[in-house]
Amino acid sequence: MATDILMPQLGESVTEGTIAKWLKKPGDKVAKYEPICEVETDKVTAEVPSTISGTLTEILVNEGETVEVGKRIARIAEEGAVEEKTLAREEENTEEAAKEETHAEVAEDQSMKHRYSPAVLRLAQENGIDLTNIQGTGKGGRITRKDVLRVIEEGKGIQPAVTEPVEEKQALQREGNKGAPEPSRAESQIPDKPKAKPSGVVLEEGDIEVPVSGVRRTIAERMVMSKHEAPHAWLMMEADVTGLVELRNRLKEEFKQREGVSLTFVPFFIKAVVDSLKEFPYLNSVWAGDKIILKKRINISLAVATEDALFVPVIHDADEKSILGLAKEVHRLAKKTREGKLELNDLQGGTFTVNNTGAFGSIASSPIINYPQAAILSFESIVKRPVVKEDAIAIRDQINLCMSIDHRILDGLMAGKFLKRVKERLEAFGPDTQI
């Protein structure tokens, strides 16, 4: 082992000291606490004692030289010095390797791409720059102020942030492709070259570019985030809902007349889910990094599709509602969605998502979790199938229940138990069930 002797602090305001005299020379044996040199400051002169016993190997500061407090002035060696050096070097190597790894990760992360700082937004607005055309160099792909300034300086990629008619853009792109014989000219004249870069998609004649709407972008971002963050696992069960179909058929006319809304299967699905969630609170939870939060309220997000978008309005406190209450709520939210009148409150606070994929004929689907919820359950088409019942072939109304779970929160066993309870509840409905 070799130990460094440092310039000591010899007073509160003293920051440096001058070696007045070395009392030992290299090769001398020194005992612990034995003075090895004298140090002078503008306040005092003092002896510096050795902190260990050993041999003075090196004097690093000559007599008369002034150095800062804490600087190495000498080294004193014990045995085993070589070992220590190798060790230190190894440590350094692993550290470097770790650094490289993080760098690689950073390069791929694009989570901050659409987080714009006030400076970036202002510069983009003042200079008419479309930020979607800029490749960010900040953390998580964030577009930094410098990135925008660079674009302004280069005078490239500048185009009205508002809108250029789509046709015009297309024409320009096409021309660019046709202009292949003189690529240098084409390259320097096409202003939106950076745009083609991120997607890598080549436009061919007749292709139509559809600008991505705000809603579409949000959907895209949320889907990517969910798939990226939550490891999805998928399972499916089959339920015999012959009884439920009979029940609905018996009630639907009268229900419509009495309540003014159609009685669909959806409220029954939700009811079965809500009652089962009470038995399995982990299905009604949220992943929060270092903990799992079991939500007290049961708020069911309901996937509602319009022609060009998907919304998930929320039925708050679904566990406090009857089939009738749920039917009215589903009707209200679906209507608001189609009319584009959803309010923020209608979209917030969901704890579990129900997806009625059967509505468009699907018989199996693998839904993407509505992040950060723990699971999403799809109810597929109800179809008549020949099934074996009590050792005979029977025609029954069958439905597939498809569920995706966040495997960080849930394992297959609990998810399976939950789904089985949903199935049992659906199968328990009969033509005479009171609702």
């Binding site: 509160e12 305001s13 920051t15 440096e16 700082s117 006030p118 400076a119 937004l121 202002r122 102020r145």
Partner: protein, 327 residues
């Protein structure tokens, strides 16, 4: 121009002002015969005598109280509080009397008083010899607070403080005393109170600081330049009145701000600077405003590793700047 230390600049400014103006006098604990525990008043007792360099009892309330009376009477007292930590018994005099004299007399009286006090840690001074106290006074209108970081600024600002018509708290970082040296002109000059100064030009991250941590920031900036990170460093020099224009200008240089001081984080002056930036330079910001300050613990620990943990350092600053640059 001779190269002199931070503390020599204090002594020089006092000497020159005492020579220039017979109304200037010094009072404090051990400032006379001993020449001050840090030697800031060395030689002044010999030159100006016991009537202008007063050794006082260990009673800070009296040191400041006497000085306020003398100032109101037309003298130019420079009171020394041996360590800023010991200013507490004088807080009532400073806050309730000195700060308010002009206001409560409707301008009939004023208080041209300077209170000098060495502050700050990193010197193994532990609990009662390391405190930063500026935040206690920063919210008291009527006081000016000057905290220079270099010998040149010390001389120019201390002279300006002595000539000021109102009370000035002049805080000197004791670690800077013998650590910081530079060329200081021999001739008379002053630096206006309330003016910040850019100590380094840069384009990636703006650092705003004062006192010892400013030097740490400059050192970090030096290292980071090799990594290709360009750091803009603004030295506030005066906390009150704050040079808002300079702050906003510095923010606009990079859009990313790190504010550093040794005083505790909560209620520290960095919070005020951050508020000014948020209010008046919001659209210049390219990253959340960051603060690197002393932690919210009651005092500077004596244990060397803990003191190191408490103190801002070039390494900690470099890390924070790097994070901002990468953001």
């Amino acid at each position: 121009m001779p190269v002199i230390s931070y503390i020599d600049a204090v002594t020089l400014a006092l000497k020159e002002e005492m020579e220039r103006d017979a109304r200037v006098f010094i009072l404090g604990e051990d400032v006379g015969v001993r020449g001050g525990v840090f030697r800031a008043t060395a030689g002044l007792y010999e030159q100006f005598g016991e009537k202008r360099v007063l050794d006082t009892p260990l009673t800070e309330s009296a040191i400041v109280g006497v000085a306020i009376g003398a100032a109101a009477y037309g003298m130019r007292p420079v009171a020394e509080i041996q360590f800023a930590d010991f200013i507490m018994p004088a807080v009532n005099q400073i806050v309730s009397e000195a700060a308010k004299l002009r206001y409560r007399s409707n301008g009939a009286w004023n208080c041209p008083l300077v209170i000098r006090a060495p502050y700050g840690g990193g010197v193994h001074g532990a609990l009662y010899h390391s405190q930063s106290v500026e935040k206690i006074f920063a919210g008291v209108p009527g006081l000016k607070i000057v905290m220079p970081s270099t010998p040149y600024d010390v001389k120019g600002l201390l002279k300006a403080a002595i000539r000021d018509e109102d009370p000035v708290l002049f805080f000197e970082h004791k670690r800077c005393y013998r650590l910081i040296k530079e060329e200081v002109p021999e001739e008379d000059y002053t630096i206006p109170i309330g003016k910040a100064e850019v100590k380094r030009e840069g384009t990636d991250v703006t650092v705003i600081s004062y006192g010892l941590t400013l030097h740490f920031a400059l050192k970090a900036a030096e290292e980071l330049a090799e990594e290709g990170i360009s750091v803009h460093v603004l030295d506030l020099r005066t906390l009150i009145p704050l040079d808002k224009e300079a702050v906003i200008e510095a923010v606009a240089k990079t859009g990313k701000v790190l504010i550093i001081h040794e005083d505790n984080l909560t209620g520290g002056f960095a919070g005020e600077v951050a508020a000014v930036i948020a209010e008046e330079a919001f659209f210049e910001l390219d990253a959340p405003i960051r603060r690197l300050c002393g932690p919210d613990v009651p005092a500077m620990p004596y244990s060397p590793p803990l003191e190191k943990e408490f103190m801002p350092s070039p390494e900690k600053i470099a890390k924070a700047i790097r994070e901002l640059a990468e953001f």
